[in-house]
């Protein structure tokens, strides 16, 4: 019987693409184009996913149970086509958080080893 922690660790580490998709969904349900835009803005244009990569990632996240299709339509007036919206699942949220923690710890290690000067932000992260 796996504990909750083990169930989460099973998914780590996430690929950068997967992590960014989860991040993009952290604040609410989105559809594909919106996810792509969100990722681009968040990373300052550094990470830009094409349709293949994006939906391949979405497919895998769906299969892993980290995201699910949303039955709601948050923007009914913007939406005149059959769009699919995605949202984080419970465990998806926790996995994203765990990954963020892991990255934070990695940054802290880098600082401790003087790879990064104290206090300097990582490039590209929005303040």
């Amino acid at each position: 019987m796996t504990t909750e922690r083990e169930g989460i660790d099973h998914h780590l580490p996430l690929t950068p693409a997967a992590f960014h998709v989860l991040l993009a969904l952290a604040e609410g349900d989105r559809h594909g184009y919106a996810i792509m835009q969100e990722v681009r803005e968040t990373t300052g244009g550094r990470v830009s996913m094409g349709p293949g990569t994006l939906y391949g990632t979405i497919k895998r996240l769906l299969a892993a149970g980290l995201i699910e299709e949303s039955r709601e339509r948050p923007d009914p007036d913007l939406d005149d086509r059959r769009r699919r919206y995605y949202r984080l699942t419970d465990i998806g949220r926790r996995v994203a958080a765990a990954e963020a923690t892991r990255l934070e710890e990695a940054v802290a290690d880098a600082r401790a080893k003087r790879l990064l000067p104290e206090g300097q932000a990582l490039q590209g992260v929005r303040p």
Binding site: G32, P51, L54, G56, R60, R83
Partner: protein, 888 residues
């Protein structure tokens, strides 16, 4: 919604690169995403941001978009395909775990068929496909003397020294002419004297054949000019390892052959044993005046730009000139140039072809079996498939999953087969014709075999999977979901599978039966001599001391005398060629009163032996006498003939007292008086040869032909263990001359076994294949009939409810199954007859038109086929009519 732009249409096309399921799921979204990205980059009005930097900026952005889109496709499409494949494989493995019995059956079927095919492939590859170990081997030719026999057929014999030099001097169409001769000198090693296979070669041998040593060098021009005097040898890799300790400093070392010191100058690469299993090569003289026996093997390389026909034309001229210059020896002999490659692939490759055919048949039967099993199982899983279909899995996806499952099963089976093929490597190597085995060193079980195995596994898996998927495509899914018993219309396909399997098995078994019968008859045929208690061996007389007749004869007679005196020995004799020996010595002759030109002389097999030979072998002397000690060089030359000879040339007369006049050859002009008639000695591999026997004392010639310097010893023992006299024989010989080793010691039974070895292996393999085929066909028939019955359960129920008896249901099923089997048998018999020519070439003791095997196989298969239908038929009779009606 506006019409999609050109860009969008192109992108949609490109999405075809993705796997079907992925595309079906996400195509709309990906298209839309691209459309929006395109809109942003183009800066159009429709909800996007206006473009401040005008047309060039727009173009730049669009270009960047397309580049990114291409990169995205290139990255993600392969990834999705890989994901889909992984999932299929996982699914396939899960399916295997869920139905281990079925999976095992399929895997074992594949293992047997693919493994057998891999084995035979390695043999075929070695004999038929591998390149010759010579540089540019297709330009090499073998030169032989051809002579027309009185009946018009051509016979080939070796070259003479004189003709070798004639060709070497005169031929311009050949750029290198070299001779080789087989020798068996004694090598002095740390453990004593050992006989090695040596090839005496002329100076240009290595150069002409395009061979390079692995270590050291071959002879230089100075040594070549000095010829045999230079006393240089090149070792084989095996000999170097075995007796020279693989010493890297072996070049320059001295070694002793037949008591003469030689210098080692090089070592050949591993696995090179050409010709005759050579262990060393030494520079040898071929003096043109020395003897006119046809014992040389001559090879040459076509000069650049010269065709075989052109070379042959020149050789015809040369042979005419030789015939004019030396009419006594050369009249009637032509010279023929044959491509070297042809020499390596001779009659015995018929066996290889037979094997290939047999094993391919097994593969077909196995494939048919698996297809039928899979189809049946697919229908059994139809419910599950229907559910998945209703959830959106397309026909393609199902087909791909079935195919992947089968490729996985086939690869697993193929891996098992590969292991089996590896273990079978040595027995199969024994099947290779001896001389081919020597050329290639060993049967290679290498990369090509593994690649073939994998390729065959994947190919068969895909073919079987697609066939099964196609056969099951007409599953009425909706009907299955709603519980109706309508099944696939694959019944006709399954029926034809039974027919095909049965037909193939019949063809296979008929061939196998013929081969086995032939082998049995050959093995149990009366050999014409007494095998029990007979031991034979070969002696290797060093040429330097025993090339001329008198010393050799003296040694032979003294040896026989000593061996006769040993305890346990009843009789002993020395002969040039034993029964079952390879090779032959022919005697050209004419009869008394005939006036034949030399080129139309009769030929008989010639054997020379010391007195006591017939007694030692146990050959009955039917008339007259055998040889006596009084038959010596001074007295009348005598001969003994066998029954075949007597029946051919003196069918109504007493052979004793007749005269045979030898013409041409070693005994030209001699007249032999026939003093005895003996029974025929049978060699199972040949037709009974008409043989003339002459006393060794009267026919001992100066020669280095290998059956002269390597005569054979036959010893008849009194006791039950013939091998027990061998140590005594060995020491007797050693006392006479320690440089004469004894080798190839065997009992007569062992010699026969060796002679029949190839046939035995072929027959055994054919039977094994036939048995495999039979098992597969029986299982297949059982499975298919059983499946058909289960599909027609409702039919039976209704019929029995309407009054049909169980007996009639039983008969009905048996009749249906039996009809398929009968059709299969009929087709199989036709196929067997069509293929009978292929088998007939290998039969010696059985008439290829004999009906026995056909009838036997047909009857057996009918019985087995019906037996296979019995259990399903009984199951059909156990249907409960009431229940079927209720289920409607």
């Amino acid at each position: 919604m506006s019409r999609p732009s050109l860009s969008e249409r192109i992108y949609r096309r490109l999405l075809g690169l993705f796997p079907v399921d992925f595309r079906l799921e996400y195509r709309d979204e990906m298209e839309e995403l691209f459309r929006l990205q395109h809109r942003d980059a183009a800066g159009s009005e429709e909800g996007g941001r206006p473009a401040p930097d005008g047309v060039p900026g727009r173009r730049r952005r669009l270009l960047r978009l397309w580049l990114r889109a291409m990169a995205d496709l290139a990255r993600s499409a392969p990834r999705e395909h890989w994901d889909a494949l992984r999932q299929d494989v996982r699914f396939a493995l899960r399916g295997i775990r869920r139905a281990p019995g079925f999976a095992t059956l399929v895997i074992v079927t594949f293992a047997v068929a693919i493994g057998a095919n891999t084995s035979v492939f390695t043999v075929a590859h070695a004999t038929l496909l591998r390149p010759l170990p010579f540089a540019d081997g297709d330009r090499l030719v073998r030169l032989v003397h051809v002579r027309e026999r009185p009946d018009g057929s051509l016979t080939e014999v070796g070259f003479t020294r004189r003709d070798f030099h004639a060709v070497a001097d005169q031929a311009e169409s050949l750029s290198g002419i070299t001779a080789q001769v087989y020798q068996g000198p004694a090598l002095r090693t740390g453990e004593g004297i050992v006989r090695v296979v040596s090839i005496g070669v002329s100076g240009s041998w290595f150069r002409t054949l395009g061979l390079r040593p692995a270590l050291g060098r071959t002879w230089d021009p100075r040594e070549e000019a000095a010829g045999g005097e230079s006393r240089v040898v090149v070792l084989s890799h095996g000999l170097w390892r075995q007796h020279f300790g693989a010493d890297p400093g072996v070049v320059g070392r001295t070694t002793v052959l037949d008591g003469v010191p030689y210098t080692v100058i090089g070592v050949m690469p591993r696995g090179f044993h050409y010709p005759y299993g050579a262990e060393l090569w030494r520079l040898w003289d071929f003096d043109p005046d020395e003897g006119t026996s046809h014992i040389l093997n001559v090879q040459a390389r076509l000069a650049p730009g010269v065709t075989l026909e052109e070379a042959q034309a020149e050789l015809d001229l040369i042979s005419e000139r030789q015939a004019e210059a030396y009419p006594d020896t050369n009249r009637g002999y032509g010279i023929a140039a044959r491509p070297t490659r042809e020499n390596l692939i001779e009659g015995e490759d018929r066996l290889v072809l037979l094997l290939l055919a047999g094993v391919a048949l097994v593969l077909l039967i196995a494939a048919a079996n698996v297809v039928s099993l899979l189809m049946a199982r697919t229908v059994a899983r139809s419910r599950e498939l229907a559910v998945r279909a209703s959830l959106g899995a397309s026909v393609w996806r199902r087909a791909r999953q079935l195919t992947t499952e089968n490729v996985v099963l086939a690869l697993l089976g193929g891996a098992g087969g590969l292991a089996a093929a590896f273990w079978l490597q040595d027995p199969l190597a024994a099947l290779l014709p001896g001389h081919v085995r020597e050329i290639f060193g060993e049967v290679p079980f290498d990369r090509s075999a593994i690649l073939f195995n994998i390729g065959l596994s994947v190919g068969v898996g895909v073919a079987v999977g697609l066939l099964a998927a196609w056969g099951a495509r007409s599953v009425d899914l909706r009907g299955v979901l709603h519980g109706s018993a309508e099944g696939p219309r694959g019944g006709r396909i399954l029926g034809s599978l039974v027919v095909v399997e049965t037909a193939l098995t019949v063809a296979l078994l008929v061939g196998a039966l013929f081969l086995s019968l032939d082998l049995h008859r050959l093995a149990s045929r009366d050999p014409g001599f007494e095998m029990e208690g007979l031991v034979t061996a070969a002696l290797s007389l060093p040429e330097e001391r025993y090339e001329s007749g008198p010393p050799r004869l003296a040694f032979e007679e003294r040896a026989v005398e000593r061996i006769r005196a040993l305890p346990g020995v009843q009789e002993a004799a020395i002969v040039n060629l034993l029964p079952y020996a390879d090779g032959n010595w022919g005697l050209p002759f004419r009869l008394e009163g005939e006036d034949l030109p030399p080129e139309q002389a009769h030929t008989a097999s010639f054997r020379q032996a010391t007195p006591g030979y017939f007694e030692a072998l146990g050959v009955p002397v039917l008339r007259g006498r055998g040889f006596r000690d009084s038959d010596r060089p001074g007295s009348v030359p005598v001969a003994v003939v066998d029954r075949a000879f007597a029946e051919r040339y003196w069918p109504d007369e007493d052979p004793v007292g007749q005269v045979i006049h030898a013409i041409r050859g070693s005994f030209d002009g001699r007249s032999f008086q026939v003093v005895g008639l003996v029974g025929d000695i049978e060699d199972p591999r040949r037709d009974p040869a008409e043989t003339v026997f002459a006393p060794m004392a009267q026919t001992s010639i100066d020669s280095t032909a290998f059956d002269v310097v390597q005569p054979s010893l036959a010893v008849r023992t009194a006791g039950l263990d013939p091998a027990s006299v061998v140590p005594g024989v060995r020491s007797a010989l050693e006392e006479l001359d320690p440089g004469v080793p004894l080798f190839r010691i065997q009992t007569a039974a062992e010699a026969l076994g060796e002679a029949l070895a190839q046939r035995r292996t072929a027959a055994v393999l054919a039977l094994v294949f036939g048995a495999c085929g039979l098992l597969l066909a029986a299982v297949g028939t059982y499975g298919i009939v059983g499946y058909t019955v289960s599909r027609r359960v409702r039919d039976f129920g209704v019929r029995m409810a309407m009054g049909a008896s169980r007996g009639s249901v039983l008969r009905g099923v048996l009749l249906r199954g039996g009809r398929l089997v009968a059709i299969g048998i009929a087709l199989g018999l036709v196929a067997a007859v069509a293929l009978s020519d292929l088998v007939a070439g290998s039969l010696q003791a059985v008439d290829p038109d004999a009906p026995g095997p056909y009838v036997t196989v047909a009857a057996a298969l009918l019985l087995i086929g019906l037996a296979a239908c019995l259990q399903p038929a009984l199951r059909a009779t156990r249907t409960d009519p009431a229940q079927t009606l209720r289920e409607g």
